[in-house]
């Protein structure tokens, strides 16, 4: 309860500060909006359904892209963890490619898929796939050998070991990877939508700039932050709590 009160107080103070800075008129109102202007923009945006549509379009792309990258990333991570040869060749390549900002893939995506949904989903997938794969590989490689021996000793086959020992044992790593993958996917999506006009929240940001409407720009930014925080709170926190409960606090970061 105390924590909620503290957090609530913090945000009230922050908005208060914002209001005061806006009232000082250091910057012109069309460059620095008041909190109320932004609330007004949010209301208007939801009232004429542009925000709802934008959110729906973005979330749909996000879900498709993220799920694809999770499945492919987990498979790729498992494959990479199977042999030293693959880790030294393909694994190194994956790590190098990951340093490429995902928006760099957009030109390729547009040339391959045209200005379609496929192109934007491709960018989302490529943005998070490698992070998930690397986390899965690291997790699998760091499973203590004793779990492997205990599993074999109790009669586990290779498939049993993967499903019942390696994957659960690397769950803390896997979760960290999925969480990072989500963040990367979300960023890739918004960036992609800003560059390549196609509804979605990213495009609403660009429209706001084109119309010189700072209120809409800030309102959409708040929406993007809110969705990110909500996903983190609902999806990942709950799983992390389960892991903490089972493994104990001390080993969660191990």
């Amino acid at each position: 309860m105390n924590k909620i009160v503290r957090q609530f107080g913090f945000y009230v103070a922050l908005i208060g500060l914002w209001q005061i800075v806006a009232m000082l008129k250091i910057w012109k109102p069309y460059l620095f909006p008041t909190p109320w202007n932004v609330v007004e923009a949010l209301r208007a945006g939801f009232a004429d359904h542009t925000f709802w549509t934008g959110m729906a379009v973005s979330m749909k792309r996000m879900l498709i892209g993220y799920l694809l990258s999770c499945v492919m990333g987990i498979v790729l991570g498992i494959v990479l963890a199977q042999s030293r040869f693959l880790a030294e060749t393909l694994g190194r390549l994956v790590v190098s490619i990951q340093s490429l900002p995902s928006v760099c893939w957009l030109p390729v995506a547009i040339l391959w898929f045209g200005l379609t949904e496929k192109a934007i989903i491709f960018v989302v997938v490529i943005g998070s796939l490698l992070a998930v794969a690397i986390a899965v590989e690291t997790g699998l490689r760091n499973v203590p050998r004793i779990y492997l021996m205990a599993g074999r000793n109790l009669g586990a086959t290779r498939v049993d070991l993967l499903l019942h020992v390696f994957l659960p044992a690397s769950l803390p790593h896997l979760m960290a990877g999925l969480k990072q993958g989500w963040a990367f996917a979300w960023r890739s999506l918004i960036t992609g939508e800003m560059i390549f006009v196609s509804l979605g929240l990213g495009q609403l940001l660009t429209t706001g700039r084109d119309l010189n409407d700072i209120n809409q720009v800030v309102a959409v930014m708040l929406l993007i932050v809110a969705i990110g925080a909500l996903a983190d709170g609902l999806l990942f926190r709950s799983v992390e709590r389960i892991i903490e409960k089972k493994w104990g606090l001390a080993t969660t970061n191990a």
């Binding site: 205990a150 109790l154 586990a156 089972k246 080993t251």
Partner: protein, 308 residues
């Protein structure tokens, strides 16, 4: 070679054990107990030999590429229903021998047999209880015990029932829902024991299972293990560096030499059961074994210092 603190402690314990043995050495002559014939339990079975280890050697290549001979020319039969203890200084290959019987390692030379079948991999007839336990932190105590049963395709109700039975056997029934990090060292040890027993193996291989425990917990677990062994009639091969523990538990004690590990002595312990680790007769026989092992322990300790 990197030595862990645990291994260093082991050396320290050895030296301490040795000095007490010297102080208490009896002035009068000590007569070694006469070897006894095989236990009745082994006579019951058709062939008394459960495990046959035939001229087995095992070498490892260590970090700098040189070859280390862990075990050399081990020949050993374990009788059905026998409680066999293997003692020796650290680095004598005791654990290697257990891993060979478990099928987690293969020998460099020689053969191992269980029930006339050559050992070529892990099997549910031989379950090893690791020193590090290897309990799964993502499962609770009962699910850990169920693990081996699930792999065997047992249905959920049957699995749970059997897991509960074995948790009861080790007095942990009320902790079945606890996760591993919530349990004390002795409780973890018992969960691991229950997990091994639940598979109902013919052979239980125990690798220094009670080393990390305090004396009271260890004594308690000795009693429980002896009780369970008497009830199930399993064959147990128990590895330890604690000679008293070996004499307290074993029908027979085998001493291994240090690097390469060779069998230097086999001693039948015909003391009546139940025994206690503080029994004077246990202490007497343990002292005898320690005196015999002394040279090997010295070698082990000197090697440890050389590596530091």
């Amino acid at each position: 070679m990197i030595r862990t603190d645990r291994e260093r402690n082991e050396v320290a314990r050895y030296s301490a054990a040795l000095s007490t043995a010297d102080e208490q050495a009896p002035a009068s002559g000590f007569r070694e107990p006469a070897p006894t014939p095989a236990r009745e339990t082994s006579a019951r079975a058709g062939d008394p030999r459960k495990i046959r280890i035939d001229r087995v050697s095992r070498s490892f290549t260590n970090g700098n590429g040189s070859e280390v001979r862990a075990l050399e020319d081990i020949t050993l039969d374990v009788r059905t229903g026998e409680f066999l203890c293997i003692v020796g200084p650290s680095g004598c290959g005791k654990s290697t021998l257990l891993h060979l019987v478990a099928g987690l390692l293969s020998p460099s030379a020689g053969e191992l047999w269980v029930d006339h079948r050559r050992i070529s991999g892990p099997g549910s007839d031989r379950i090893i209880l690791f020193q590090e336990l290897g309990l799964f932190p993502w499962l609770n105590a009962r699910e850990n015990v169920e693990f081996g049963l699930r792999l065997r395709g047992l249905k959920r109700p049957e699995r749970q029932q059997r897991a509960r039975h074995y948790l009861q056997l080790v007095h942990l029934a009320q902790f079945e829902d606890s996760y591993i990090h919530q349990l004390s060292g002795g409780m973890k040890q018992r969960v691991a024991l229950a997990r091994a027993l639940a598979v109902e193996p013919d052979v239980l291989l125990m690798d220094e299972p009670f080393t990390a425990l305090d004396a009271q917990t260890r004594d308690l677990l000795h009693d429980e293990l002896e009780r369970i062994w008497a009830a199930t009639g399993q064959t147990i091969v128990f590895v330890t560096h604690n000679v008293r523990e070996a004499v307290r538990l074993g029908d027979r004690v085998i001493a291994l030499s240090y690097s390469p590990g060779r069998i230097t002595r086999s001693l039948d312990v015909s003391l009546p059961r139940p025994r206690h680790i503080e029994d004077p007769q246990v202490a007497l026989i343990a002292r005898r074994v320690l005196q015999h092992l002394r040279g090997e322990i010295d070698k082990s300790v000197r090697a440890e210092y050389r590596h530091e």
